[in-house]
Symmetry: C2
Subunit: 653 residues, 2 copies
């Protein structure tokens, strides 16, 4: 029988030693949750540290990510080769696998970058959805694992955490368990400074299975985890803990969270906990218990491999979990582009067309939408993923955008599915913190947004993004697409689906976008920007435009050419891809003639393409309430205005 | 006795007629909540439509803002001159007071721009905090009013709404009442598609007083509002309603939300509800009931004026509520700047110094912080605003940043207090949707953020903003300050406090910022950017920098000048203010020499100041985990690198 208490102390002292060596860190969580974590690993977790990428492993999420030493100690002790003692000894240093907060490194067992508080548990909801959807597709012989999340008070105060509780209960995600570090302490001190609600009652109101235990009582924890596994509802295990348990000076105190540790603290802890071992030393008997604890998972892995070897779906399962496109993808993608509607059509509807057409081609796709099914129109042939029916590929996320963004991260990090996330662009601000994590992790989530400009119309400025394009263009590793018509929209879909290491954002129109390309031909959006219509004659002017303003630029071009001014129109659906092209191509596209940028958004960022003397036609502030046509005229975003400025530039030139 | 049912029908038909005339709109809320609203106005609301700015009026917030016609009908019927019938007839048109969603216009009774779902109730929490704080200061003779919020299902699904529930319960905001339009319908259809939690139980878990009523039963609503007023806890009145009540084709249906109305719908409703009146006509008897209903508020206003006239605090009360600075402000502001620490000091600490020093000067200031009291250090001489003690000027908001941002809007819109909001810059993404509303409304909230760059150090890239400066510089009407040292920080405080029509954002350092200015002198930050150190000799190079990189640029300048390259350093604490200066000043500051921009952030947006051939030293992607000094070296943001590039530019030039 394993000595789980000793296993827990090994976590404690590896955390203390690593934090002492780093000179800073957050000891509160690893010291407070050591028994919980050791019991989970010793008795319940299904994992094989020798194959951290095994698709049917349990997922562990550290939502209280500042307590990262808990995770690193667990990964080290459970035998992940990629987390050696040297990793712990370089905690919080450049290049160490043991970064300040967990950063996704699945080969080392770090499942996800949880980022700021609350998002980890929201990602965990996404993982649990992924598991349930995959089990429905491939059956429990291939997919049958759980998601465990370590959770702090902060995670449960954050709105995104509350959204996670609500939807997980609604979807009855029975394989999801939250292990709450109920230590009564936040950074400011006693939790009573800012919260007095009955947290278990809040979970029960959302349909969760709720248990309370002494978080240092191993037998009680063990029983609670057993009960959590047996219950068909998602489970909260509220673990009453003492923050920084084991360090007399800090335990139960505000300073327990992250006050600098001293060698004296270590000595005191070693005396209290009877731990006579030198720094970073773990006695062989304890290491042996840890190794034995992992045998359960290794056995499960071996039997899974047997089942998998002869499974009729093994090839398709591999394709999904490895994130490969089907063999006939090039043909399918070409069909997708050729099928793009030649009629004027909101690009959000063109995107819905593409999404629907890909339903059969990429059954691994799962669409999430935040209560805007009708106006975004991406459900169509799909049916809902519900508490009763896990075969659906459309998740009604409710009016919970931040959760939806984090679920997208969780689904993508889980592997096996391709998440697509749909709402209005104005709500991108709600999702932004999660989208930032998708970009930081390099996860291939697709974020589809409709109602991308003042073209929204009479709903008014609160719902009209004018600065949101720029705000995401500023974000590293986020590809921002604003397609001009149905063909560019289909091209963007192809690019996003082929991408493995970046999230993509689509900014799409509610209002009709007249087609600017007549034939699909090759995927020109791959270039980021291209000459849609060359000047007839030596270029006197270049119009740079995106989205619905490309058609407007084409109208202006016709008028300018009629006035004898040879004008080129450059469509720029994705700045980031254009930046990736070589300078010769960029120079050729942009040309040397005077330029006018046209976009129904703020100018911020456009100076990347506009030189002194070039001009911009767009927004100078927030929008207003009225129909799209009226607003475009009101704000001077019209072909006539472009023509007028074009004339000025010609006169000046 | 007023015929409240007829008053409600007047709301209904004004909404129907306005939406029909506009050709679109959301009828679900005004038709479903007509009895609730009419009862509130007829029996409970304290307001005087003839003086919509009366400081002691009850505040009404329409959190389900798409139902804006409910609010406009109420404002019209209750006698707001600024909402005439012509306003209703131009619903959703440019220039109309009746915009698509409510846009702040307090002279017309529109208290706040609620924006996207959930934010309205979070703003309402801010208003209730403002009321309680002001009552503690001035007593109930001057301040004793309530906050009422109309709330939809979406608001309660949003995380920010959940944060609002939690904190309002904790702070026991007894004068806050939510009127929940429990109609079982969201945009996607039945609420059961995305939520199955026990909402009243969730409120009870947070310490609310909860009642359930038939939302069309006027007597029941009246009794519930009476009980809500009597209870010391915040109150939820869960009103079971029928969406689009009165239109047979749509009531209780998904289409009730916003499906296009037809004249037939109006005819059918008129028949069912016995409303034989032509469009936009309200019978005199009903108008008389509405007028009589407002007499209660007018009487209250008159007695308040009597109390106010001779109140010993009347002058100070007027100064607070009118948002005027004290008479000796120029002297105090100069003292503030002169007191700025000459020692190297994190600018977040310099900001804490200023905030603390202003405690006695601007007692109307209230500081909100999201569980980061110690590292942001803005509490100091303040004590907490709590359920028991309303005299405090520091609100422990808990780990609920989005709520905090919306509360800042609510406090500023309420009037009487100056809200200051404090957390880490990485969390600005959580607050962003509320900050956007502050910018759109032109409210003078101050958003103070610490940990503004990779200087955060070992907490790693999740906590290191690299794109967030740019994302807010892209936002209209948001002033983004990144001060270089304590003096510039004090200058920014002065500017922010003097500003009445824009929010301000401070991006401040955790790490020490060496002083770059020796003497306070005049407030140079007002210029947005200025020559901190002119070149000794004809300018060969101009370094443009912000924040902690200004000192770095000064070090580079010293080295470059030693190498015979006369170099100027321009500090740019606020781009927006610099853009407001005339072109001659800007040209003089920027000069014609080659330029290097230096900022520990992404380059996006810097092309506004950098021409072809100019260079940028900053970040090219996300950060990493290690100490600040190591990271600056790792990412090449060093004086040495600036010097090297400066040499290149000189050779090329």
């Amino acid at each position: 029988m394993a000595d789980i208490q000793a296993m827990a102390h090994a976590i404690r002292f590896l955390a203390i030693d690593s934090i002492l060596k780093a000179g800073e860190g957050h000891q509160g969580v690893p010291l407070g949750m050591a028994e919980i974590a050791a019991t989970l690993y010793a008795r319940h977790l299904k994992a094989d540290p020798k194959d951290p990428l095994w698709p049917d492993r349990d997922r562990v999420v550290l939502s209280n990510g500042h307590g990262s030493m808990l995770l690193y100690a667990l990964l080290h002790l459970s035998g992940h080769d990629a987390v050696p003692l040297d990793g712990l000894k370089t905690f919080r240093r450049l290049g160490s696998v043991c970064a300040g907060h967990p950063e996704i490194e699945q080969e080392a067992g770090v499942e996800i970058t949880t980022g700021l508080l609350g998002q980890g548990i929201a990602c965990a909801v996404g993982m649990a959805v992924a598991e349930a959807r995959l089990e429905a597709e491939f059956g429990p012989d291939l997919v049958d694992h759980r998601t465990w999340a370590f959770v702090g008070d902060g995670c449960l105060q954050e709105g995104v955490g509350q959204e996670a509780i609500s939807l997980a209960g609604h979807l009855r995600l029975g394989k999801l368990t939250f292990l709450w570090d109920d230590n009564h302490i936040t950074d400011d001190g006693d939790t009573l400074l800012s919260i007095s609600e009955d947290v278990p009652a809040r979970f029960r109101a959302a349909g969760w299975h709720v248990q309370g235990v002494d978080g240092h009582d191993i037998a009680a924890i063990d029983a609670a985890l057993e009960a959590a596994r047996a219950d068909p509802r998602p489970s909260l295990v509220a673990c009453r803990t003492t923050i920084a348990r084991g360090i007399p000076r800090l335990e139960g105190q505000r300073g327990g969270h992250s006050a600098p540790l001293t060698p004296d603290d270590r000595d005191a802890a070693a005396a209290v906990l009877d731990w006579p071992h030198p720094p970073f030393a773990v006695p062989e008997a304890i290491r042996a218990d840890w190794a034995a604890a992992m045998e359960r998972g290794q056995t499960a892995h071996a039997t899974w491999q047997d089942r998998h070897a002869n499974h009729w779906q093994a090839a398709e399962f591999a394709r999904w979990t490895e994130g490969r496109l089907p063999a006939d993808w090039p043909v399918r993608a070409a069909e997708l582009r050729q099928a793009a509607s030649p009629a004027p059509r909101g690009t959000i509807l063109a995107s819905g067309d593409a999404c629907d057409a890909l339903g059969g081609v990429l059954p691994e796709m799962v669409v999430l939408c935040a209560d805007l099914e009708a106006p975004t129109n991406h459900k169509r042939g799909r049916h809902a993923f519900t508490a009763q029916d896990r075969s659906g590929s459309y998740v009604h996320c409710g009016v919970r955008e931040h959760l939806m963004g984090a679920m997208t991260c969780g689904i993508a990090a889980h592997g096996g599915l391709r998440p697509v996330n749909v709402t209005y662009l104005a709500f991108a601000d709600y999702e932004r913190p999660a989208m930032r994590m998708a970009a930081l992790m390099g996860l291939p989530g697709l974020f589809v947004f409709s109602h991308d400009s003042i073209g929204v119309g009479s709903n008014g400025p609160t719902h009209q993004p004018v600065e949101i394009l720029a705000s995401f263009r500023a974000m590293p590793n986020m590809r921002v697409f604003r397609p001009a018509d149905a063909i560019e929209t289909a091209e963007a879909w192809q690019i996003a689906m082929e991408e493995r290491h970046s999230p993509s954002l689509f900014a799409l129109s509610r209002q009709d976008a007249p087609p600017v390309r007549r034939e699909a031909g090759e995927n020109l959006s791959r270039l980021g920007a291209y000459v849609l219509a060359e000047a007839e004659g030596p270029r006197a002017l270049t119009l740079l435009a995106t989205g619905t303003e490309v058609a407007l630029a084409m109208d202006a071009r016709a008028a300018l050419q009629a006035e004898g001014m040879p004008t080129a129109v450059v469509s720029m659906p994705c700045w980031e891809l254009f930046c990736d092209q070589d300078a010769d191509y960029r120079d050729a596209v942009l040309g040397t003639a005077p330029r006018i940028g046209v976009e129904a958004a703020m100018e911020f960022g456009w100076s990347r393409w506009l030189r002194a003397g070039d001009r911009f036609v767009g927004m100078e502030g927030f929008g207003a309430s009225d129909k799209a046509e009226t607003l475009y005229r009101h704000f001077g975003i019209t072909p006539e205005r472009v023509v007028e400025i074009g004339r000025d530039l010609a006169t000046a030139g």
